[in-house]
Every structure is written in C-alpha cells, then in structure tokens.
C-alpha cells in the first residue's frame, strides 16, 4: 500500500526524519507512535505530499508521489487540528469538499451518526472543538478510499462519539482498507491497532505487533512497554 525508502527530512537545521524505511501492506490498522517531535506528523504529511522530503522515495499504491496529486484520490485524511475557514457554514464546507473530490452520499449517514444536523447552518468559526472534530470525521469518512490516514482522531470527542469512531474504524477495516493512525491515547491505540510503528529521533525504532513489543521490552502491558522504550533511550 505505502512504501517508504530512505526518507530524510530536515527543517532548517532541525533533522526530523533521518532515513525512514517503511512498508505498510494492504489491509489492517497501523498506529504510528513516538514521543512529541519524533516526526510522526512529518511522516504522515510526507505521505500526503504536504511536506516535501529532502531525500528518499514514497510510493503509494505502487506509484511515486513526486509531482503527482491524483494519488490523493485514494487517501482520506483527517488532519490533527480541525482548522477550517471560519466564515464557511458546515453545509457549505461539505458541499465544497464534495465539489472538489467528487460526489458521495455517505455524508448524510455520517451526519446523522454524529448528530450534526443542528449545526449544518452554523459557521465553522462558531463551533466547539469537539463539534469541529466531528465535522472533520464526516469529511474524512465520506469518501470511500482504500487508504485512510487519521492524525489524532480522538481529540475533543465525547465518549459516545469515541465509540462511534471506533465502530467506524472497524467497519472500514472490515472492508479491507488500510488505516494509518497517530494517537497519544495508548488505550485507544492498543484497542484498535493491528500493528504499531514506533518512531524515535527520526528513525523507525520498532515495527510489529503489540505483543512483539511487549516481549521485546519485557513489560507486561503496552503502556509500560512504550514508557520503557522512552526511559531507556533517554537515560
């Protein structure tokens, strides 16, 4: 699905990614983890073509993403901070994205799912963080793309919505889609992900299942396993 070879990226003198090699096969849920500033978002943005790598190659569905924009038709992306043009109405935003990407009817179902009907005629600038995140989710899931990238999807969600989100993720997985998630909520990651990719100082430190990570770190549970990686490496 996604194949990354020798990816380097630095912002000015600040090296963020230094030689990432990563293969994400088709189907399943992958969690990209790492401490703050480890390069998770940079990695995801590189895949999306928002960040231009200094070196290395990224292939999505077998094709290089360099100087290409149409491959993004195959990706649904949920950005980390739901910042939308504030003087647009929710309805207009959805209509606009549909206009840009092609039509779909999924949006209506998702709107009902997240109970967004009362907000459709409100301006995005007047919405709370949680509601914005729900709109964000609608925009992401309304297209039926084989690759879904979710950057901190749980931010600001109430428990009911969180459950709905998890359900949503599972249904998409069941359809055979590939889902890439970053999150700080370890319980959420443990619950949904099949495989984790741990990034540390711009490199892939670990890739594999959660169980394999537990064995490797000799820790009984996931949260401690992560913590031990961090303490070992910073000690």
């Amino acid at each position: 699905m996604v194949s990354i070879q020798n990816l380097h990226k630095q912002f000015n003198k600040n090296v963020v990614l230094s030689g990432i090699d990563l293969n994400i096969s088709e189907g399943g849920i992958f969690a990209v983890l790492g401490p703050n500033g480890s390069g998770k978002t940079t990695l995801i943005k590189s895949i999306l073509g928002m960040v231009i790598p200094n070196k290395g190659e990224i292939l999505v569905l077998g094709k290089t993403i360099k100087n290409n924009s149409t491959y993004r038709n195959k990706i649904d992306y949920l950005p980390q901070i739901a910042n939308f043009p504030s003087n647009l109405k929710v309805k207009e935003l959805i209509k606009m994205i549909k206009d840009l990407r092609g039509n779909t009817t999924e949006d209506e179902r998702l709107i009902t799912l997240f109970k967004l009907e009362p907000f459709l005629n409100k301006k995005l600038g007047n919405l709370s963080g949680g509601t914005k995140q729900k709109v964000n989710l609608v925009l992401t899931f309304m297209f039926n793309s084989p690759l879904i990238i979710l950057d901190e999807p749980t931010t600001g969600l109430d428990p009911i919505s969180l459950i709905r989100l998890k359900d949503l993720i599972q249904t998409e997985k069941a359809k055979g889609k590939t889902i890439l998630i970053t999150s700080h909520i370890m319980s959420f990651v443990e619950e949904v992900s099949d495989e984790i990719v741990f990034i540390l100082e711009g490199k892939i430190y670990f890739k594999g299942s959660i169980d394999a990570l537990k064995t490797k770190t000799n820790q009984p549970d996931f949260e401690h396993a992560i913590a031990s990686i961090l303490t070992d490496n910073h000690a």
């Binding site: 990226k9 912002f11 943005k45 999306l48 073509g49 928002m50 960040v51 231009i52 924009s69 149409t70 491959y71 993004r72 038709n73 990706i75 992306y77 950005p79 910042n83 939308f84 043009p85 003087n87 647009l88 606009m96 994205i97 206009d99 840009l100 990407r101």
Partner: protein, 260 residues
C-alpha cells in the same frame, strides 16, 4: 484551479473587508465627482490614490488573506489537487475580488456622472487598468512574502516595508542618484529605473496621458521616442505584465517546494 478560484472569490466577496474596500472607493468616487464637480481634478486625485493606496491594500490584503486562510489551504492540500492550482486559485481569487471592488467602486459613480459622454473616458480607463495591474502585482508580491515567512508578524512587516520602499524610498534614492550623476546622460537610466518599480511604471503610464505636455519638454532623444510615440505605452504595458508574470511564477515554484 477554477474551483479554488471560485471558493476564494466567494469567500472574499462575503468578507467584511471587501465591502469596506468597495465602500471606500464608492465614497471616494462620489466625493470627488459630486462634491467637487470637476472631472479633470477628480482624475488627477484618483491617480494619486491609485498609485499609493492600491499597492498598499494589495500587499496588506494579500498577506492577510494568505495567513488567514492557512487552514483552508491545509485542508485543500490533503485533497487531490495540484499545489499550483491551489495557490493560483487563491491568488487569483484575492486579486480578482480586489480589482472588482476597485473597478466597481470607482466605475459606478463615474458612470452616473456620465463618463461615457466625456472625453476623460480614456484617462479614466487607463487609471482603472493600471489599478488592476497594480492589484495583481502587489497581491502576487504579498503571496511571495507570505509563502516565504511562516511568522505572520514578520510577513506583515516585510509587506509594509516592501510597500514603503516601492512607494516612497525607491523614488528618494532614484532622485538622489539623478542629482548626483546629473552631469551624465541619464535618460536611459531613468527610464530603466522606473521600469524596475511597478509603482513608478504605473505612474509613468499615467503621466503619458496626464502630463504629456510637460514630459515632452525634456530634450533627450530616448525620452522623446519613449513619450512621444506609442512605444512608451507598449513598453510600459509589457513591463507591467512582466511584473505580474514573474512573481506569479515564483508563487508556483515556491509553493511546490514548501512544507505545510
């Protein structure tokens, strides 16, 4: 690109600033024409407004729009859209809506005044064309500044500086160098120097209409050829177009390399 253009344009058309801008020009037009009742004087005052204010508004507005629509841009970047079409669409959206406010704001009072029946129609059209060119140039320059500066305070600072430089300081330096080197033939230099500044260029273009009698008072052959024939008009328009094309070209290039 057209879709982005459409959304940027509508977005701006609904924003408060477009109305303020439009209202300002409407007021200006009405005050100049109906309170003063002197078309020639109105055209001269407008010229001053256009070569000073239009660049200022173009830069400020361009920078402001870029920073304010950062979220919108990021949203678009994740969509299957070419970067060049995203930025070109936004740029054209801003430049077009500003130009439209200018043309409508000044055009409506002038039409009511009866510009079509007056022989000032050419001077007036030239003013509007130059104003539109300046809007496109300075919005493009503003986008360049904003694309190169993540920090918006810095971006605004540079934008104001750019305007101040091109509108005032450049001419000061220009005048100094003409006075210092007055013993040398300077007509080619001075024409060249005014091509390098879009504000001077527009001013020259308007001078060709308003002050041709004074310009022909100077003896230099190059000046004479430039101002006395259509040569000057053509060269000025070409240079103005170049002033639009080059910054736009840089927007496209810069945007391709930028990280978000």
């Amino acid at each position: 690109m057209l879709k982005i253009l459409k959304y940027s344009f509508y977005d701006l058309m609904r924003s408060r600033w477009s109305y303020v801008y439009l209202a300002f020009y409407l007021m200006l037009g009405i005050v100049l024409l109906f309170l003063n009742n002197d078309l020639s004087k109105a055209v001269i005052t407008l010229m001053n407004v256009i070569i000073v204010l239009v660049p200022l508004i173009g830069t400020i507005f361009g920078v402001m729009y870029y920073y304010n629509s950062k979220e919108f841009t990021e949203l678009l970047l994740a969509q299957p859209l070419k970067r060049s079409s995203i930025f070109m669409g936004q740029y054209l959206g801003v430049a077009l809506s500003l130009s439209m406010s200018l043309v409508l704001g000044l055009g409506i009072p002038f039409i009511f005044y009866g510009i079509f029946k007056s022989n000032a129609i050419w001077d007036f059209s030239l003013l509007l064309i130059t104003g539109t060119f300046l809007t496109f140039i300075f919005t493009a320059l503003a986008f360049n500044i904003a694309l190169s500066n993540e920090n918006r305070i810095k971006g605004f600072g540079y934008a104001i500086l750019l305007w101040l430089f091109l509108a005032v300081i450049y001419d000061g330096l220009f005048l100094m160098s003409l006075l210092v080197f007055e013993d040398y033939p300077l007509d080619q230099f001075s024409l060249f120097a005014s091509m390098l500044n879009p504000i001077d260029l527009s001013r020259t273009l308007i001078l060709l209409k308003l002050d041709i009698s004074a310009l022909l008072g100077y003896t230099g052959a190059v000046f004479k050829q430039f101002f006395g024939t259509n040569f000057g008009l053509i060269i000025s328009f070409l240079a103005l177009s170049l002033w639009v094309i080059l910054p736009v070209f840089r927007i496209v290039r810069k945007s391709k390399k930028k990280d978000f």
